[in-house]
């Protein structure tokens, strides 16, 4: 669908970016120490840090991806919400306090606290960079995808705009400004999603059948876009979709429910009939054609598992393992993400780390409950773009008012800003503190450490922009899944065993991080999903039985660590204090 650029959206977004960049310059006006740049002096209040956790964690995949998945496929999108939140339990109960006690600036500090090994620093710094870059790509691609329809600017402009804003935020005041941007973004996101959910419940559900004629979008070999055989224009475009065909029988002839309570909304939707649309692609000499067709379905079908993860209903073992593997990676991945872990160094002590995680869980949990209503609200809003699941949340807002659309669009951009600044911060620490200072052994005074971190941040910002432009055709949520799998496979076994198994050796940690990272990455590159979506080959050509590696590579990391530690136990080890 074609969108009109919204001057209000541009104004709101521009004022937000200017405000946070201005705030960053103000926060960074004083000279900085390394502790200030990398860990905000360890003086961030636990409540601010907790909301900043939400701002760091709730990426474009959470906001746009999950809403879109629920809007088009029903309950299965909510499974992502459940998995993303569950990961925080590992973070709080297992990781939070020890990581705070052990580390200084980076995740490598914590893993290396007991051994002082260059090998650990090198392998963990590389895994931090790999995970952060895999996480960065979808954020940057998402920024570009959003800017095309919403602001009417080219994809690359969106990527560059976000890249410059984020680099400025990080370079001016490091972790201090990054924290405040994430705090502001986390607060805005949860608040406005709450407002939007209240409006959905106040509007209730309304029957709106719309036209059920199939629609075709074609792209000709010379790049022209046709809708139902005619050139696409604002007046001749795909019709918005996603409607309610019938309310439950108890409403009789009524076509609207009026305001509903949250549980009542879910219950009524379950007894209603809903029209969803799906596209089927084909190619011939005249170009590629996608035909979108409607299906009327019972609410009970859409609100049970199996709408997106088809393997849940086909009974194929490999499909079931794929799903189990994804849910395991989501559970284990959160507590292994370097940009989340470094946030523990910004608070003063272990108790503050614990309290800020509880605040983070409350904010993130509330957000994920809201995504269920946003997704289902979009599903029946009559405003969905059949070609883009990512646009469900902004278009839902548009079905209420243009201003709300502008606000939600601007918040979607700030979502990207908050997460990308955290990722660049994590990467900057890995390069400057772990690689340059500790692995290469280049001595640096406090000011040089800060300068080196800032140079690394600029370099990473440029890399992020280049990758965002290069990978523009990649599926956003697909890449986030990769990052979780690699983080969980490379980092979690080393982290958990270091904390709970006194016989862990430095060789065990280096091997587990390296094998976990290489194995999960290799598995992903050989998976059926990658064969189909990246290489354009047949799924059957893939040599691995299912696409998500976590189910195999996370246990592999543990096994490698145990075996190598036992083989190298001759190494003198001090008993843990």
């Amino acid at each position: 669908m074609l969108y009109e650029s919204s001057p209000v959206a541009i104004a709101i977004f521009a004022s937000f970016v200017l405000a946070v960049v201005g705030l960053s310059f103000w926060l960074g006006r004083k000279g900085q120490s390394a502790k200030g740049y990398y860990a905000a002096h360890g003086e961030i209040h636990w409540f601010i840090n907790g909301i900043a956790f939400a701002g760091d964690y709730l990426s474009a995949a959470s906001f746009l991806g999950i809403c879109g998945m629920i809007a088009f496929h029903g309950f299965d999108g909510f499974l992502y919400s459940i998995g993303f939140l569950a990961g925080w339990i590992v973070a709080l109960f297992v990781i939070a306090e020890p990581i705070k006690s052990l580390g200084k600036f980076t995740f490598a500090d914590a893993l290396d606290a007991k051994y002082n090994s260059r090998g650990i620093k090198l392998s963990v710094a590389i895994s931090t960079l790999v995970v952060s870059i895999f996480y960065l790509i979808p954020q940057m691609v998402g920024a570009g995808d959003l800017i095309v329809p919403l602001l009417g600017l080219p994809h690359a402009v969106g990527v560059i705009l976000v890249g410059i804003a984020v680099t400025l935020i990080v370079v001016t005041a490091g972790m201090v400004s990054t924290t405040w941007v994430q705090f502001i973004k986390g607060s805005l996101l949860v608040f406005f999603c709450g407002v939007l959910t209240s409006m959905i419940l106040a509007r209730g559900l309304t029957v709106n059948t719309g036209s059920l004629e199939p629609q075709t979008r074609s792209v000709t070999p010379d790049g022209r876009v046709l809708v139902d055989g005619e050139p696409q224009t604002r007046d001749h475009d795909l019709r918005p979709v996603g409607t309610l065909a019938a309310l439950p029988a108890r409403y009789g002839d009524a076509t609207t429910t009026g305001p509903l309570g949250p549980l009542e909304y879910l219950s009524v939707l379950e007894d209603s009939r809903i029209v969803t649309w799906s596209g089927k692609k084909s190619s011939d000499a005249s170009g590629t054609h996608t035909v979108y067709t409607p299906t009327e379905r019972a609410g009970t079908d859409l609100l049970k598992p199996g709408g997106y993860f088809k393997g849940l209903t086909t009974g194929k073992l490999a499909d079931k393992l794929d799903f189990a593997s994804l849910m395991l990676a989501l559970f284990c991945g959160t507590a292994s993400l370097p940009h989340i872990l470094i946030r523990y160094y910004t608070v003063k002590d272990a108790a503050a780390a614990r309290k800020s995680t509880v605040v983070g869980i409350a904010a993130i949990g509330a957000f994920y409950v809201l995504t269920l209503f946003l997704g289902l609200g979009a599903m029946t809003s009559g405003a969905l773009d059949p070609t883009s699941t990512n646009m469900a949340a902004p278009l839902l807002a548009k079905s209420f008012s243009e201003t709300l659309f502008a606000v939600i669009s601007a918040i979607a951009f700030t979502t990207v800003l908050g997460t990308v600044s955290g990722l660049i911060m994590a990467g900057s620490g890995a390069v400057a503190h772990d690689l340059v200072e500790n692995v290469l052994g280049i001595p640096m005074n406090d000011a040089e450490k800060v300068r080196c971190g800032k140079i690394a941040a600029v370099g990473l910002g440029i890399v992020a922009m280049a990758l965002g432009i290069l990978f523009r055709s990649f599926n956003v949520s697909f890449l986030v899944g990769w990052a979780f799998n690699i983080a969980a496979s490379a980092n979690l076994p080393a982290l958990v065993m270091l904390l709970f198994w006194p016989r862990t050796t430095k060789e065990g940690i280096i091997s587990a991080v390296t094998v976990g990272m290489v194995a999960s990455l290799t598995w992903i590159l050989l998976s059926a999903d990658t064969f189909e979506k990246v290489y354009g080959l047949s799924r059957d050509a893939s040599p691995v039985p299912f696409s998500q590696p976590g189910l195999v590579t996370i246990p592999l990391g543990f096994i490698v660590l145990i075996v190598v530690s036992l083989l190298t136990k001759a190494q003198p080890q001090g008993k843990p204090a």
């Binding site: 209040h45 636990w46 309950f75 909510f78 499974l79 919400s81 459940i82 939140l85 569950a86 925080w88 339990i89 590992v90 709080l92 109960f93 297992v94 306090e97 020890p98 006690s101 052990l102 606290a113 007991k114 549980l263 009542e264 879910l266 219950s267 379950e270 009970t300 609100l303 049970k304 598992p305 199996g306 849940l312 209903t313 079931k320 799903f323 189990a324 849910m327 559970f331 003063k348 002590d349 272990a350 108790a351 503050a352 614990r354 309290k355 995680t357 509880v358 869980i361 409350a362 949990g365 994920y368 409950v369 269920l372 270091l498 904390l499 709970f500 006194p502 843990p576 204090a577």
Partner: protein, 88 residues
């Protein structure tokens, strides 16, 4: 259970053990839910409470349980820590 206090810290062993216990409670809840999704989706489609189905009720329940357990942990840790310590 082995002492899981952290090397290099004065490790509040009791707090860590409480955290570990709560962690396993959540592991059972989460992977129990995943097992139902995988093997008994029919149970999740049922509506034992009349309104929302068990799939949505248990999903919302898991989110609520995460928050509840985390608050229990925070309160328990405060109780085992020395009075006046770590309060901001």
């Amino acid at each position: 259970m082995a002492d899981n206090s952290v090397p290099g810290s004065e490790g509040p062993g009791r707090a860590a053990r409480i955290g570990f216990g709560l962690f396993w409670i959540y592991v059972i809840l989460y992977f129990g839910f995943i097992a139902l999704v995988l093997f008994r989706p029919d149970i999740l489609s049922s509506r034992p409470f009349g309104g929302v189905n068990l799939a949505i009720a248990s999903g919302l329940g898991l989110i609520a349980a995460a928050l509840l357990l985390s608050v229990v942990y925070m309160v328990a840790c405060r109780m085992v820590e020395s009075p006046g310590g770590n309060r901001r």
